[in-house]
């Protein structure tokens, strides 16, 4: 964390707004969409960083919001996973109106603290609530692309089975990689035969999933999602004996699960 590390990933000067093209759109769940975006002149990012997206209306009115990059730094494009809040301003546009071929204005990558590279090591505990999985998915994908078997547990809270973002990809990766484990909890509805957890993440669940504090530096935890979930998980991890400087948090805001 040196003074030389800038949001732009090293280059000095203003982080410029760029015009970028939506290449492809995938529906992840009924409310979450992935936008694959090609950004001319993009210099890469670190897993965990975000971009600012700026929308401009005909009359010049503008709205900006932050979105985490969900794709691996190794990808030639970036992907954002956007949850549509029906009464929101920007997310219904990005996860509804936008079509492939549209142009978006964005700048980034931003953020130098909630980031991870394989050189930071592990063991990793990634705790996500809803769309908070986006920056953690970038870490999972980066780890996979770099082919480093760093012990990693993903603890993922979703409302219902149909709302688990990236479920197939997470399950597929975990099936072939013994050092990656995915644990789901469903807080509202559980399908018949569901064997995972059925409640909000709490201290007992964290103790069961993460185990006792590791010796040495201990595990490295990244927690992302709605404010309430992040607050509770971070507080519980400390109470369980994990080190405060190894628990990194990102809060998406008051909404979500």
């Amino acid at each position: 964390m040196g003074a030389t590390e800038t949001v732009g990933g090293g280059q000095a000067g203003r982080l410029a707004w760029r015009l970028a093209e939506v290449i492809e759109i995938r529906d992840e769940t009924p409310r979450v969409r992935t936008l694959r975006i090609g950004v001319p002149g993009w210099r890469g990012h670190k897993a965990g960083q975000h971009v600012d997206v700026r929308l401009t209306a005909e009359d010049g009115y503008q709205a900006q919001r932050s979105y985490s990059i969900a794709s691996a730094p190794e990808s030639p494009w970036i992907e954002l996973a956007i949850e549509r809040l029906d009464d929101g301003e920007v997310s219904p546009y990005l996860a509804g109106e936008v079509r492939p071929g549209d142009t978006l204005e964005l700048r980034g990558p931003i953020g130098g603290y909630f980031t991870w590279t394989v050189d930071d090591g592990g063991p990793l505990l990634l705790v996500a609530g809803g769309s908070g999985v986006a920056p953690l998915m970038a870490m999972v994908r980066h780890r996979e692309a770099a082919k480093r078997a760093i012990p990693t547990t993903v603890l993922f809270s979703s409302r219902s089975a149909g709302e688990i973002i990236f479920r197939d990809e997470l399950d597929r990766l975990a099936a072939v990689d013994p050092s990656l484990r995915t644990v789901h909890t469903l807080t509202r509805n559980q399908p018949e035969g569901w064997t995972g957890f059925r409640r909000r993440i709490d201290a007992a669940m964290l103790a069961e999933v993460a185990g006792p504090p590791h010796p040495g530096e201990g595990l490295l935890a990244f927690v992302c999602g709605p404010t309430r979930l992040v607050e509770n998980v971070a507080t519980d991890l400390l109470a369980l004996g994990h080190r405060a400087d190894r628990v990194k948090t990102e809060r998406f805001g008051p909404t979500g699960t």
């Binding site: 964390m1 040196g2 003074a3 590390e5 800038t6 949001v7 732009g8 000095a12 000067g13 203003r14 982080l15 410029a16 707004w17 760029r18 015009l19 600012d52 700026r54 929308l55 401009t56 209306a57 005909e58 009115y61 503008q62 709205a63 900006q64 919001r65 932050s66 301003e89 546009y93 109106e97 549209d102 142009t103 978006l104 204005e105 931003i110 953020g111 130098g112 603290y113 909630f114 404010t227 607050e231 971070a234 507080t235 991890l237 400390l238 405060a244 400087d245 628990v247 990194k248 948090t249 809060r251 805001g253 008051p254």
Partner: protein, 204 residues
């Protein structure tokens, strides 16, 4: 870049009302919630172990226990606040001690200060931005004690700069001769953070 650019089909639904429009800095939107931004777990310091210190380039450091601090003259101020994550909140009501009161009568040649917080956070500010009725150490929000997740028991309030400068869980001010970046400022955020100039990130 982006000159004349229009996002196809975007109309927007958070245009501020005319009477508050000139209180919302560029790129910000008005929120009714009070969102939370911090890098890690919320520290919780017991009040009987809490103290507040002014140190650094001063003849004699000053220190207050919680009770002593609360016995200082305090004021209630109503301010607009602007978070770098894009939300602004208007007419927020705070209770606390003016930084002028904490530095009253102090002789120093310092031009800057570093706010030190529980959890190891720091933020840097020019001294002239926290004196002259511009900054407070607040312990009350909206008529109640300041909650831990919003920085309680006490946080800095420097409302004319982006809100990360209003460091949560503040425990002391170190007066220094030379500016050096704090926590977020070392991680790519702007060194000064004027919302009206949209100084979000380094280089803005």
């Amino acid at each position: 870049m982006g000159q004349g650019f229009v996002s196809r089909g975007f109309r927007g639904r958070r245009r501020p009302d005319a009477e508050v429009a000139d209180r919302i800095p560029p790129g910000q939107y008005l929120t009714r919630d009070f969102p939370v931004l911090s890098a890690g777990p919320t520290p919780r310091t017991a009040l009987d172990r809490w103290d507040f210190v002014v140190r650094g380039d001063v003849e004699a450091p000053r220190r207050w226990t919680w009770d002593e601090f609360r016995a200082l003259p305090s004021e209630t101020v109503t301010k607009d606040i602007h978070c770098v994550t894009k939300w602004s909140k208007i007419d927020t009501v705070w209770e606390g001690v003016s930084v002028d009161t904490l530095l009253d009568g102090l002789e120093t040649s310092a031009d800057y200060l570093i706010a030190h917080c529980d959890g190891g956070y720091t933020t840097n500010l020019p001294l002239e931005d926290v004196t002259g009725g511009k900054a407070w150490v607040v312990f009350g929000y909206d008529g109640d004690a300041l909650e831990p997740e919003h920085g309680g028991p006490a946080r800095l309030l420097v409302p004319h700069l982006y809100f990360w400068k209003s460091a949560k869980w503040v425990r002391g001010l170190e007066l220094v001769g030379e500016d050096s970046p704090g926590f977020w400022e070392s991680l790519g955020y702007n060194n000064y953070g004027d919302p009206w100039l949209e100084q979000r990130y380094a280089g803005d």
